[in-house]
Every structure is written in C-alpha cells, then in structure tokens.
C-alpha cells in the first residue's frame, strides 16, 4: 500500500486539546523510512502530546495521523493491530509490567502476537536483551533494575518484534553521561543494522546532535523548523537559539491576559 518513497509517519494539521487548552496548533510532521528524527523543544512545548498522538493513544481533535500509510484515527481494529505490531515504543519511565520478570516483559509481544514455541521465544527475547547489554538479567523483576537498566530493558521490549518504526521518549533523561552515550550508540546501531526508522523525543542537545538525521523543533504547540543538525544549529530563529544556548526566554506579558488570569473565577 505504501510506496517506497511515502513517509512512514505523515501528520497533517494535527490539533491537540486538553480540555479547553490547545496544545498543538495544526502541526505538520513527516518522517521518512530509515531516518532518525529527533523532536526537541522546551518543557511544556507539546513533545509528549505529539508522541501520544503519533502512538494513537489520543484521538486528534482535527487533522490526521498516518503511520505506515494507515490513518490511525479511522482504522479498523484489525488495521490498527497490524500497524501496532510494526512499531515499538520505549516510554520515558520504561513502563515495564511490574508483575513480569524482565525476560517475560521482552517476551510478551512475541507471546501475544506470534505462534512461536516457548523455546524459540525464550531465545529470541534473550537475544534482544543481549543487544541492549542486559544478557543474563532476564530473571530479575523490573523493581530490581537501576534506572538505566530499566530504559534498556524497555528498549529490548520495544524491538522484540523487529519493528519498522521505533519511538523513544527521553532516552537519556536521568542517566549518567556514559550510559546515555551508550544508549545513543545503541540507537545508531539499530538504525544501521536493523534498518529501523526511529523517532526520539529528547531535551539533551548533545545526544540530539549526535544521533539525529533531522531535528524537529517544537515551541508552544508550533513547529518552528524541521531540518538537518547543521541547519538547526545555524538557524537564526531566536527561540531556537535560546533553546540551543540555554538562554532564559524573555517572557512578554500581555497585560489584558495577565489581568484576566488574576481575576478570573474557577471555570
């Protein structure tokens, strides 16, 4: 259905709302096969919100999200399932099932979506753990892992089904520089060895510049720019330079809105 050149992710005019607040203002966003796209932006700019819409965890108020050529808001159960078997997600907090061991967590997608026998599943899930340097830890429970190990275990689960498309939320947040550099290497290796298309949400400039083929900068619900690492670095947009140089932003106060906020009664 998808031709070779069609983008794997194609978002048009996406608007996202929480209650009466608009978080994304009609965002256009496309990711091509084989690239590593980094989504950057300040806190509260809507990165996680965009990611949740890409994953189909929220239905867009308006606009469309197409993954692998399928409009996920209008897809049937069956189509959606077919898409979800081809994507892997590593959540910020790992989101490993606490009631299952690390090995069972990694094996879960295989158990649920394939008819492989138990021995094969065990070997395959251990292989994935080896990929993320967690070989031999399959019998630990998630509560017994360190923060960096949780992230890597979550990554192992995300790639268990050899997805075409991998989403990674904040790979390096809260990790020491060595571990986060290792994760960056791992992401590059996944793209090169397994030909995955990868979308990474991160604040860490250093890691963003190291792994990204292209960068999308979000600011207050708008995409400021999408471009290569160099283009973003040398862009003269003030907000982007603030972000890159860790300058505090200048907040302009709108007097009317300010007064309104102070005097308004609870909605």
């Amino acid at each position: 259905m998808t031709s070779a050149s069609a983008p794997l992710i194609d978002v048009t005019k996406l608007e996202a709302w929480y209650g009466r607040r608009r978080i994304l203002n009609g965002v256009d966003f496309a990711v091509n096969a084989g690239e590593i796209r980094v989504i950057m932006g300040g806190s509260g700019s809507g990165k996680s919100t965009l990611l949740r819409h890409l994953l189909g965890l929220h239905k867009p108020r308006s606009g469309t999200v197409r993954l692998l050529g399928v409009d996920i808001a209008r897809a049937s159960e069956r189509e959606l399932l077919a898409v979800r078997r081809q994507i892997g997600v590593s959540f910020q907090g790992g989101a490993l099932l606490t009631s299952l061991s690390v090995g069972d967590n990694v094996a879960l997608p295989l158990r649920e979506h394939t008819n492989l026998d138990e021995a094969t599943i065990r070997i395959m899930s251990r292989l994935k753990l080896e990929v993320v340097n967690l070989g031999g830890f399959q019998d630990l429970m998630p509560a017994q892992l360190s923060g960096g190990m949780v992230k890597r275990a979550a990554l192992a689960r995300a790639i268990a089904m050899d997805p075409k498309l991998l989403f990674f939320d904040e790979p390096s947040a809260g990790l020491d520089p060595v571990v986060s550099a290792e994760l960056d290497e791992l992401i590059l290796r996944l793209r090169d060895a397994l030909r995955m298309t990868i979308v990474v949400v991160t604040h860490e400039l250093e890691s963003a510049f190291k792994i990204a083929d292209s960068i999308t900068v979000l600011d207050q619900g708008d995409i400021l720019m999408t471009g290569t690492v160099d283009a973003v670095r040398h862009c003269d947009n003030e907000r982007i330079q603030d972000l890159l140089n860790r300058r505090p932003r200048e907040i302009q106060v709108d007097a009317d809105a300010y007064l309104k906020r102070l005097t308004e009664e609870a909605a």
Partner: protein, 265 residues
C-alpha cells in the same frame, strides 16, 4: 444568585459524572465480553492462563476466609432465630428460617462483600498503578488491548468464582447453624441438615447464585473502571482503591434489595 445556583450546578455535575461512569462501565462490560467470545478472531484472544490466575486470586485464595466468615454467620443466625422464634414457641421454624435466609440472602451477600474488599480493591489498585506508570499505554501500543488483557480475565474469573464461593458459603453457614442449634432443638446435626435439604427448593439456591453473578459483574466493573480512570500518582491509586470498595459495597446492597423485592413478591 450564586449561592442558589452553586449547589444545583454541582448536583448537575455529579449527576453527569455518575451517568458517564455507568456508561463507561457498560462499555467495559460489552468490550470484555466481546473479547472473551470473539477476541481470538481479531488477534486478541482471552488467555486461559490469565483467567486461571485470576480465578486463583479471586477464588482459591479466598476459600479460608469465606469459610470462616460463613461459619460465623451461620452460628449467628442460629442464635438469633432460636432466640426470636422461641418467644412464639415456634422453635421448629428455625431450620426453615435459617435455610431460606442463608441461601437467598446471606450467602451471596457476605461472599460478595468479602470479595469486593479483597479482589475489587486489588483490581483497582493493580490497574490504577499500571495506568499511572504508563503500563496500560505500553500494552496498547504493543497491540495488546488493555481491556482484553486486564479486564476480561478478571470478569470471567469473577463470574465463575463468586457463584462457587457463594455455594460454599451457603453450605458452611447452614452447617454452622446446624452445629449450634441442633442441641437446642433436640435433633442431631445430621437430622438438622437432612431436614434443611428437604425444605430447600432449587429456586432458593438459584436466587442466591443469580445474585452472586450480578455482584460479580458489579465488583469487576467498578474495580476495573476506577482503576483505568486513575489520575494523579500514588495518591490517586489509594483513593481509587477506597472508592472501588465503597462503591462496590453500596451497589451490592442496593442491587440486592432490588432483587429481593422482585424475586419474593
């Protein structure tokens, strides 16, 4: 003006919330049953292993406490009925009074309240903490429907185990009453029990079992829906757990009353 409309407004909002909650629970029931029956056709099969695990947690692990409580209730009913009925010289009616009240009412009610406290709260806590830590989202993105994986096994297990526990509670409560009252009635416990069996009709037992199936649905739906709608971290999980137990017990008692009214007219 404001003082007048405020209470009205909050009443209105509460009503809307209540209806939305009932609607959500109904949708959950529909989805769970759908996955249980047709799930395998769309790649979302209900796993027997998950159902058995839930049956163990809900049923087998509750055997001891249900037995203990049912025995106590049986003895208590024996004491009360002997005291009350002997005032009218109607001691011989103790057997029938105990038999009918246990099978129609107390067996199902006590079991349901106990299971709501044990398993309804556990469901809310488990699913609630999973929502908070994004495990539910992770399941969804892996193509594992959270309702199929978390709610459907619990519902099926509850629908099997609550009636089974209720039958056990009926039997043990009657045994308890027999042990306590047979000396006072000058019969052997065995004679007491055989008299009970001859007085009971299948309808009496079925009434309790039918109720327990309804309670099973109530407990599961309330536990699961409060769990899925948790927001606000660990504190939210705690609140949801309490809420699940209180709501379940309220609904159980009200529905029990409605059932009794219609079934005993």
């Amino acid at each position: 003006m404001n003082t007048l409309t405020r209470p009205l407004e909050s009443l209105g909002r509460a009503t809307v919330h209540a209806f939305a909650g009932v609607g959500y629970a109904a949708a959950l029931l529909g989805e769970s049953l759908y996955f249980a029956v047709f799930g395998w056709r769309i790649g979302q099969p209900l796993r027997l292993r998950a159902v058995l695990e839930q049956m163990r947690q809900i049923g087998v692990d509750a055997l001891a406490i249900v037995t203990l409580l049912a025995l106590t209730i049986g003895v208590m009913l024996g004491i009360q009925f002997i005291a009350a009925l002997s005032e009218f010289g109607a001691q011989s009616q103790v057997v029938v009074a105990v038999a009918k009240s246990v099978t129609r009412e107390f067996g199902a009610l006590i079991t349901a309240i106990l299971v709501a406290g044990r398993s309804g709260s556990a469901l809310a806590a488990r699913i609630g903490s999973m929502s908070v830590s994004q495990e539910v989202d992770a399941l969804a993105t892996m193509g594992i429907e959270p309702v199929r994986y978390l709610a459907a096994p619990a519902l099926i297990a509850m629908l099997v185990m609550l009636p089974v526990l209720t039958i056990l509670a009926d039997a043990v409560a009657i045994l308890g009453a027999a042990l306590y009252s047979s000396p006072a009635l000058n019969v052997t416990p065995a004679a007491y029990i055989s008299q009970t069996l001859s007085l009971l009709s299948a309808g009496d037992v079925w009434q309790g079992i039918a109720k327990s199936a309804v309670f099973a649905v109530l407990i599961t739906l309330i536990g699961v829906s409060t769990g899925f709608s948790v927001a606000g971290g660990a504190e939210g999980v705690g609140r949801a757990t309490t809420r699940a137990v209180v709501l379940s017990i309220c609904w159980i008692i009200v529905v029990d009353m409605i059932f009794s009214f219609f079934l005993n007219r």
